[in-house]
Amino acid sequence: MNINSHSVEVRDLDLHFGEVKVLQELNIDIHEGEFLVLLGSSGCGKSTLLNCIAGLLDVTDGQIFIKGQNVTWKEPSDRGIGMVFQSYALYPQMTVEGNLSFGLKNARVARDEIAKRVARAAEILQIEPLLKRKPGALSGGQRQRVAIGRALVRDVDVFLFDEPLSNLDAKLRTDLRVELKRLHQQLKNTMIYVTHDQVEAMTLADRIAIMKGGKIMQLGSPDEIYNRPQNIYVAGFIGSPAMNMIEGRIDNGHFAGHDLSLPLDGYEFERTDHHAGPVAIGIRPEHVLTGDAVETAAAQAEVEVQIVEKLGSDTLVHSTLGSLNLRFRMDGLSRVTEGDRLRIGFDTSRASLFDAVTETRL
């Protein structure tokens, strides 16, 4: 086994603040050059985990390795990391150049080397004209570039991002997102990126770790996370609008519940196909078939349209089927209005089936 293929490893990490267990038994391996996104709602422990990796928080138990080195009790600056913060955290009294070189000066890097690295970072981030300015005279986007530059000059193996784009407006956020992606492709460093924005997560990540209550709910590629959520939490968290969840049972190769009977022939069971207890089936809005496609579906039903949201590219329909609320997507040009009755079909091969008690995928 090639040790170096693991850039960052977290082993059995625990972090308690008094009685509160913020991180519990956390394990994660991050590969060399990987872009890992820690995703979750606020309070899930994602930023805390990042701070532990950075060495800004003392762990209660467990070990952290970076590049095969046990860094659990090392100073942040000795871990070979660079970090970018949400609020940019630029030193207000120093110029951009001072901000970029501060860490290098602390590490007693030779002066010409500092100049070289600052120049290179400034070039990469296109902030050369700003070098003599103070942070107060910069726009939000410029400040965030400088913050990224500060991590860049350190010439480190691992970049840590703590919600770096949250303070920016929507347009700038999209631009910088693309730029970050490009930066990753160019530098090929390991990057760990914390966000609560699933679009950022899906677009940037090689792998996503979804966290909740100090635990990792699922770790996988965006594709896996989206298409094969391992539990109800992940299924509900990822995707907008959220997945339709229908409760019922498995009966003779069919899902049965809410007067629906959906054949499960196409579904790839990961564990067992004979589950006696209550289950829940999750179907993404885009996997509900409408229009001509309905005819091809093995199971069909008629729903009543309640609300129609026109998004331009497609149309989002909120409907009811008996007591069940169902959301689905239609083409942007489809003409449905509130009160219409529509026939829809279900494609169970792309659905997710969960044990309703343990909430894990079947």
């Binding site: 040790i3 070990q63 095969g68 046990n70 009790w73």
Partner: protein, 307 residues
């Protein structure tokens, strides 16, 4: 875990470093604070409390007499009056300083002209010591030369305003001077707090049609809790130490009508040369402070974590 992993973890045993040596610079830098807290405040207090159970006179001595000093303390008319005075002064001063300080700050915060001038006027007394404050107000409240005398000279012969010589209201005469000295600083703190309130809050209140007074009481003041806490610590610590002002203004008089506990402590320690009695009185003061303060301080400063 793979075999390789296991091997590496044990090859490279990084145990949790000794708690004592974590954060060493911070601990090193805190030595002055720790020494002050432990040696001066805890040590000094313990020394004082311990000696309050003795019959030390001029010099501290170890002649244990149990609770005798306390019994005598609470049988002393002067001590009872001192405590009553401190309560009256304390409550009035706390409430009035807060209310006046806040009101002045609120008035100054209404985008008025000459704000700087008014602010300086309200604040400058804080630069003067209590001794100076006491002397100045003793002078102004002097019945012959001061306000009373002047009003009487203007023809209103029956006008009486002589708080410093009336045992029933003398403590309020001291209060006038105390407020004069201290409200300015509280006003500045309050003003700072008001300036820290997001403008949007005001806009929201405006849109909701909430009146200005109501906005202050219901919205702004609750938001300024930390500001009030800081102000409270500063005012309260001043109140309990009330001494110089009384000495300069009335020296406890008329009679013993304006005595305060700190003065009792000092007089008994040094004038009566009964250290233990003074220590017993200061222990009582400290005890009341601790009873009020410790639970609060714990909630305010102790339990909170950052992040």
């Amino acid at each position: 875990m793979t075999l390789a992993d296991t091997a590496r973890v044990s090859d490279n045993p990084v145990r949790r470093p000794k708690q004592l040596f974590r954060n060493l610079s911070a601990k090193f830098a805190s030595i002055p604070m720790i020494l002050t807290a432990l040696v001066v405040f805890v040590g000094g207090t313990a020394w004082t409390v311990a000696h309050s159970f003795t019959k030390s006179r001029l010099l501290p001595k170890w002649d244990f007499v149990g609770l005798d000093q306390y019994e005598r303390l609470w049988n002393s008319n002067r001590w009872i009056i001192s405590v009553e005075n401190l309560l009256i002064y304390g409550v009035c001063s706390l409430v009035l300083t807060m209310v006046l300080g806040f009101t002045l700050a609120a008035l100054l915060d209404r985008k008025i002209r000459f704000e700087g001038a008014f602010r300086t006027i309200f604040l400058y007394p804080f630069a003067l010591s209590f001794i100076v404050t006491g002397l100045a107000w003793q002078w102004i409240l002097n019945p012959d030369f001061g306000i009373q005398g002047v009003v009487r000279n203007m023809g209103w012969e029956s006008f009486t305003f002589d708080p410093l010589n009336d045992p029933d209201i003398v403590i309020f005469g001291i209060l006038i001077a105390g407020l004069w000295q201290g409200t300015g600083f509280v006003m500045v703190i309050m003003l700072a707090g008001l300036r820290g309130i997001d403008e949007d809050i005001w806009k929201a209140a405006r849109v909701d049609g909430i009146g200005i007074t109501k906005t202050y009481v219901r919205v702004i003041i609750p938001m300024m809790r930390p500001v009030f806490v800081t102000a409270l610590v500063i005012i309260a610590s001043g109140i309990i130490k009330l001494y110089d002002l009384v000495v300069a203004q009335t020296n406890g008089g008329p009679g013993i009508a304006s005595e305060v506990p700190a003065k009792y402590v000092i007089n008994y320690m040094f004038e009566a040369q009964n250290l233990a009695q003074g220590f017993a009185a200061s222990t009582m003061m400290l005890l009341s402070v601790i009873i009020v303060l410790v639970p609060w301080a714990y909630l305010e400063f102790g339990g909170k974590k950052r992040g």
